[in-house]
Symmetry: D2
Subunit: 359 residues, 4 copies
Amino acid sequence: MLEAAIVGATGVVGQQFILALQGHPWFRISGLYATKRSAGKKYRDAITEGGVMRWYQDEPAKDEIMEMKVRDVEKLDPRDYDLIFTGIESEFARELEPRLAKRRPVISTASAFRYEDDVPILIPGVNDAHARLIEVQRERRGWDGFIVPIPNCTTTGLVVSMKPIYDSFGIELVIMTSMQAVSGAGRRGGVLALDIIDNVIPYIPKEEEKVEAESRKILGKYEGGRIIPAEFGVSCTCTRVNVRDGHTEAVYLSLKKRASVDEVKEAMREFAPKLYSIGLPSAPRETIVVLEDEARPQPRLDRDTQGGMATVVGRIREDKALKNGIKYVLVSHNTKMGAAKGAVLVAELLSKLGYIKRP
Amino acid sequence: MLEAAIVGATGVVGQQFILALQGHPWFRISGLYATKRSAGKKYRDAITEGGVMRWYQDEPAKDEIMEMKVRDVEKLDPRDYDLIFTGIESEFARELEPRLAKRRPVISTASAFRYEDDVPILIPGVNDAHARLIEVQRERRGWDGFIVPIPNCTTTGLVVSMKPIYDSFGIELVIMTSMQAVSGAGRRGGVLALDIIDNVIPYIPKEEEKVEAESRKILGKYEGGRIIPAEFGVSCTCTRVNVRDGHTEAVYLSLKKRASVDEVKEAMREFAPKLYSIGLPSAPRETIVVLEDEARPQPRLDRDTQGGMATVVGRIREDKALKNGIKYVLVSHNTKMGAAKGAVLVAELLSKLGYIKRP
Amino acid sequence: MLEAAIVGATGVVGQQFILALQGHPWFRISGLYATKRSAGKKYRDAITEGGVMRWYQDEPAKDEIMEMKVRDVEKLDPRDYDLIFTGIESEFARELEPRLAKRRPVISTASAFRYEDDVPILIPGVNDAHARLIEVQRERRGWDGFIVPIPNCTTTGLVVSMKPIYDSFGIELVIMTSMQAVSGAGRRGGVLALDIIDNVIPYIPKEEEKVEAESRKILGKYEGGRIIPAEFGVSCTCTRVNVRDGHTEAVYLSLKKRASVDEVKEAMREFAPKLYSIGLPSAPRETIVVLEDEARPQPRLDRDTQGGMATVVGRIREDKALKNGIKYVLVSHNTKMGAAKGAVLVAELLSKLGYIKRP
Amino acid sequence: MLEAAIVGATGVVGQQFILALQGHPWFRISGLYATKRSAGKKYRDAITEGGVMRWYQDEPAKDEIMEMKVRDVEKLDPRDYDLIFTGIESEFARELEPRLAKRRPVISTASAFRYEDDVPILIPGVNDAHARLIEVQRERRGWDGFIVPIPNCTTTGLVVSMKPIYDSFGIELVIMTSMQAVSGAGRRGGVLALDIIDNVIPYIPKEEEKVEAESRKILGKYEGGRIIPAEFGVSCTCTRVNVRDGHTEAVYLSLKKRASVDEVKEAMREFAPKLYSIGLPSAPRETIVVLEDEARPQPRLDRDTQGGMATVVGRIREDKALKNGIKYVLVSHNTKMGAAKGAVLVAELLSKLGYIKRP
């Protein structure tokens, strides 16, 4: 068992980390960290306001977690743990994570370090080879640990769906319009009901830039100590719709090599079980699930497929307007595979690869 | 005053025709037609079921309309009117409209004849020149009247927004993802709440094909008695979202000639007042309204701009992934400009052009 | 194992029956019946339209069910089964169910026979003694079988929550305002999204009358071969809100004997495990779950408590305006405990009591 | 023209005050006040964040308002104005309003002073006689001005609908369940989409207590320098539903004197035009609008009746469970009659009555 700390434990992402880790076969939740305000309280009390427990997940936390003391993140000594999960704002991550990474592996949901040259953005099953960049990062920065962030939740489903196509046929261009769930905006500064009832909000600050940069990096090639980004063009419009969980994305691809709809499905289906086969506890049985019903995927019906860890793809069809065009629709769970559970999957991979271990 | 009949008067589109025509300066509602079941009843009674009046519009119909007798469409003699508006299912339109068009102009919201060679799909201000195809239609079919359909409601906003760009810079390719309102599906067989709550439905039967065919035809060229469709590629994904009225569309264009964002806005702004200047009563002051707020257009906030007759465009930005790429988001009111009010605007144009007149 | 038939198997309630019965330890699905249109087809094909399978449940049906032949309900010989579940419209039930009941037990979700003197409306754990009315029904009608309907889905949660209070303190008056989910209206003639977005519909045809009549009957006393309805006054306002599943009800009670909030909670908690203890497979561990969080129960968070079979009660507080007043809010799952799963629970009880058995 | 200041001008209620007052025939917006952060900026700039104008109303503010300087509320000298409208949090109101009221009339949307003995809560047309309490307030506190708050938005519609019944038949008891719109919670700390999608929240902090206290006070009697609260019992459950604007309330009344449904309607219809007849510019033509369609009132369809200033009542029916029982459903616009526009109506009444005038 590896001892794990969760930083930002009282927040929504922190709560998701608790769910993803409690009962985990490889990792044990050994420390819960938050700001000074919560420090010293039992977890149960730290998330209680005005007598009401602000536990925002559908499943409950175990009693033993509820009884754990929350500690002050300022006093977190990384050497007390084998790895650290962070679910915090990007500004704070920029400051805190290097201090922790000096000593121990940090798996982060924040965007703070995603775009640094020596930091891989990992999606297990998609770009495992990028893990080698950790060695470069350690050496360059003189760290014992490292920082590995997961992608933005909108990037994840897109890149997973592109991966088998990219490998088999090459990609010249991807155009993507997202219809994103409100849970992606979190609680602090979250989407107000009065803004989204009977409405679509066609803009999410910085989202499009993130998807564009991250998708090229993740599908890029590790070579000589750095990642050479993939060279396809990416263009996105990210919108918010009146859905609670689950991002829907309409994707248009121009491939390097012509591929039929059946060949694309075949490539996805072949790719689907590979990750699972290497034996990571949080891995979905199928990384991609292809549906034939033309009215699917739908976020309410498909977001929880395989514990919210699969990317569900449907409406795969030829795009006659694009050169070697293929288009489809996908649904990906933004707060499961796209957040804490996805980060735990990354930790599992890095543990398997030997990057995370008892010191 | 021209005498107008409304066919399908008790349905939702029929009700919209009543609102668009009551108090109209050029057209008078002189006949209301529906199936035998309603025939002989006052309009008020014909739309009343179980004691409740099924008037689905926000504004009321005038008392004089409510008191009008509804007549049996089977007995409609077109010669009793100067023009006829139809708001009926496509299958029924295919059978009924030719009988009416033999004698009188028929302005239709149905798709039945949209794709025939001698039938123009008109959007005033966009392709007025296509009206000349009416002469071909009359001659070829030996009709005194004619059939002119309006486009599918999803096509309308798209083509309006493309028109000034097409004229100034040319278009190679358009990719469009729509987030469509539930009112577009009507009442019979309409979208059930239980299917769209907390959900997106990524498929609308036949919608994508319609948009693809219609946009090329409408932006095509009238030449030698026929329309030569525009040659750009079109690719769409049409989805249904939890919005009552107003279709939102994310549009990506590859232009023939490079244009800056400012040049595109300039072209739209120059185009905006042209239609209004010719003096049609239902024309919006501006055909296109360009917004600078990056979080707009939003359907709830923008659909009713200028009586629901304007196409509202925002987030115009460069698309670096496409050759000479431009992308933007638009909102267009699917049951106003996209339906009966749009059809009345067509009748106004054809009246101005002399195609509709007292016999 | 008892052999069960499902009538109306292709409809939404029929699908719920399939889920509630597949893998059931006591009942086996031995026949699926629908109208002639579906007869002779595999179930899978009978629910497929235009290539798309219209299976409206979150969980899938087992393959063996999908492969079963659907048969014509007109040809259903009740003697081929040990019991029959019906999920059909009330008019059709009125005609069909007596024919079936002549031979075999019929458990019905329809309202057709609920208000007949010799027909009990059963909620296991609440009025099990009413089962004895079955004997009267059989004798009076000369039937081998019988008809037992479940209550209207809005009545169920109300009566369950009232039961322990009624027994301990007596009830003079109940006032109830419901906020009902759209799934309660079903699919045929269901609530349209365009009617409920950004809206409340303050009327549900016949619903208030049903709740008023049924609650008095269910809490009534079986005596001398008939049910003497409870004597409290009942007044309801039933509304439809923009929620998919789960009815929320605000309840105000005037008790015969004064009771503190704690005494009411105590009565509920004592009542909660009784039904479970008699060992029916579909029974919730607790018939009533009392929550202390003042912002609960909420339909999305609480409807699925204990498989959707528990009535979740919160905000129990004194009502100073009513004599011995108590008020609270409840959530009850309208398509689980309130429909097919609730009907299966009734069959389990009647089986336990010996009313349903191998002939 | 009376010179008016708006305090809290940049907030949502402040924006509603601007809309309610711009172009007003009696009052001129002469001062806009906010916290120091906004002071010195043009209004347009004060509500602009990150380049986007945070104007949350459907109608625009006039350019002359947009160009006005916002001033620091700490430096507001009430003697510069004839009256002051405040749209601020209750804690801040408690501190600020007495300072202003020392010199000038203050019309407030805050609850801070509603429950003080010498402070009337006014609804024009309902309890105009309570205005006389202003004289007591002035004398007791030694103020030149005074504070008059409007009621909580949920109280307003309820009390308006009760008034004609109370006057004609007397009321013993009122039970009310509200289904409130999300706009009632405002923007700061407003209802998050992820909490209300597919949900009902059955609790609104302090709301029920407010409605109970305010309704008795407003329908009370002014006598000998004080208000003797009405003596009926009141019991409420206040819930939040997925509606943007417009509170829906299910009301049950026990009357002192038996009244038929027709008599109740008659009393409401007689009452409806009275307020309008005294000539206040913001008064609705009918204070109460009675609908006969049993599926009405609905918030989306009825909230804007007469500019959002009317209380729309429907489903009036006998309540057989209550002594002399009557029940009905009402819709009232929470951010129009229930907020700033309602406060302006109060100022109009007080101006008419001579309590607000040029010094």
